[in-house]
Amino acid sequence: MPLLEIKDLRVHFATEDGLVKAVDGVSYEVERGQTLGIVGESGSGKSVSSLTVMGLTRAPNAHISGQILFDGQDLLMASDDELRRIRGNDIAMIFQDPLSSLHPFYKVGKQIAEAVRTHNHDVSKAQAWDRAVEMLGLVGIPEPRKRADAYPHEFSGGMRQRAMIAMALSNNPKLLIADEPTTALDVTVQAQILELIDRLQSEFDAAVVIITHDLGVVAETADDIAVMYAGRIVEKARADTIFHGPEHPYTWGLLGSIPRLDTARDEELVPIPGRPPSLINLPTGCSFHPRCPYVRDAHRRVEPELAPAGDDPSHRVACLLDHRTRQSVWADLRSGRTPEEARRLEVDRRDAGLDPAVARAEDGA
């Protein structure tokens, strides 16, 4: 049984402007000791889905459905009190901006000790403080006993995130959710923090979910990667597959917009055109179609399902293009062609009838 299993999660918010479908039918699972990377732009629903795991999106205007099975227990059915006992204890979370995420008026050690004492009532203040010091040392803060006595503003950005991680891990959680843990940090510090999360994961044997807009962040650390777009998962696979055989045009776009070390320096980064869609008025059909270079008429009407991409059952993709078409377009892109060139080649191949399956599907649709 996976540690965390999310089934058809939907999180909709009723607002004055209309119903915001922040998360719209998301399913994934995380095994013990594994790391899942969830990648997507702002507004793709990646943060909302994990905040929902923590029960932090519960509000009068939020409509949440589906299942969140944690260790077999459905968290959506749990009472506020039950969830509170799980939060910060079995499931811990760290956030994007470590300065604003720490209370400015309390000493760092005190904030960690508070997390310890909240879930262990028989621990004395002194013991909790010692635990805080121990945790600060574990996350690589020098002179932890002295630093525990400092306020967050006296820490550097990287140190603050280390302190947040220390706080999150102070109760040995089974699952750590890291929401953009490195976005607010310098590049050199980013690598250190990711390394730290990786090291602590193996030490604590926790499952980790890393949420990021940057595929580069999860390249090293994640075992599986889910790519989210407009409240849904559009592609999910082993991390290797995402980087070497991705099949969704959005994933191609994400990969095309990050610099790589294994290609020529002068290769241009290609941004994804357009902007993320409004979550109130989603585009019809495939919600990525307004930005997709390979869009066909039928894609504006038919909604794609997340289905196995090819022979590998762990690789699933929600795209209406044919598996072989996707493979040949990716091959073109990989050989250095721009999306525009790849699109023309794809159209040529289709016209030449090299791709009869697609031609038939087009006729049928």
Partner: protein
């Protein structure tokens, strides 16, 4: 820290100098009554008037008069002598301080006890009927003028209900705390509530908007993610931050009230600094007016300084 305090005190001295100069100058330009004529009796002899003027130093040029005033103030803490009854201004004002302090402190306790909890409750119950009711009531309370509220409450409580219940004493019944604590309390309850009404409303609204903002902060999300109870999230993490700006305006408000709550003291006939100032203005008693203005300014400056120093202890990010 010490350097900061010394610097602030020097600035305060300069500020007080400027304030006293302004008040002096205004009254010099606009003499609404001649103090010498007040003393010379009916049908005054011009020689007598001139003699009084000479004794009071009023025949000297403006800057000499001002200099003498400042000199006496700095060397002897002497505010001069009242034109009306020849009493030293310092005694006149200092006698009134207990009444004003009783009124201001009591009212402050009342408005904090009412305003802060209502503000917290309104923020936590954001968007509900509770919030709308409290904030609507606050708007009414802010809009009600103190003198009107005072007169209405006197009419309602000290004459009819008050006489029956024997709790609220009529205006003018103030006695110092050390003479009759029970009478002191009963004479001040109404003024406290009347004076506190608008403040309580302002503090409730201020507390609400502060707390609403704070509860949206990332560190509140962290507190929830830690699994803290909602009660602890709101009070230990939310209110702790939201209440700090309140300290600033509280210091300022208390300072202003120590300079005399003119309307409340007048309506309830409380012998405080505010009523003294009011009477002195009516009688063009410059030394008294000057004295009350300076005392008021000193109170505001002192409380501001206290608040700013206190802030360094409340907010660890603030260092001087």
């Amino acid at each position: 820290m010490l350097v900061y305090i010394v610097r602030r005190l020097l600035w305060s001295a300069l500020l007080l100098f400027v304030i006293s100069f302004l008040v002096f100058f205004i009254f010099y330009l606009l003499p609404s009554a001649d103090p010498a004529l007040l003393r010379a009796g009916r049908n005054p002899d011009p020689d007598l008037v001139a003699e009084i003027n000479r004794q009071l130093g009023l025949d000297k040029p403006f800057y000499v008069q001002f200099w003498r005033y400042i000199e006496a103030l700095v060397t002897d803490f002497d505010f001069g002598t009242s034109y009306q009854n020849n009493v030293p201004v310092r005694d006149e004002i200092f006698d009134r301080i207990p009444a004003t302090m009783s009124l201001a402190f009591g009212a402050a306790v009342v408005w904090l006890l009412i305003g802060i909890p209502i503000g917290i409750l309104s923020a936590v119950k954001r968007g509900t009927f509770v919030e709308r009711m409290f904030m609507g009531a606050a708007l009414v309370a802010i809009s009600a003028p103190v003198y009107w509220l005072g007169l209405v409450s006197i009419y309602l409580f000290s004459n009819d209900i008050g006489v029956a219940a024997r709790i609220f004493q009529p205006p003018g019944s103030y006695v110092p705390l050390w003479e009759d604590p029970s009478m002191w309390l009963r004479s001040l309850i109404l003024p406290w509530f009347v004076l506190a009404t608008a403040f309580a409303a302002i503090y409730a609204r201020f507390m609400r908007s502060n707390l609403v903002d704070v509860l949206d902060e990332d560190y509140i999300r962290t507190a929830r993610a830690k699994g803290l109870s909602e009660r602890r999230v709101v009070f230990r993490h939310g209110v702790r931050s939201a209440v700090t700006p309140i300290v600033t305006i509280f210091g300022l408000d208390l300072g202003i009230l120590f300079g005399g709550a003119i309307l409340t003291e007048t309506v309830f006939n409380i012998p405080g600094i505010g009523r003294t100032a009011f009477e002195a203005i009516q009688k063009s008693d410059l030394p008294i007016v000057q004295g009350t203005v300076l005392i008021g300014a000193m109170a505001i400056i002192a409380f501001n300084l206290i608040v700013d120093i206190l802030y360094a202890f409340i907010d660890p990010r603030v260092r001087y």
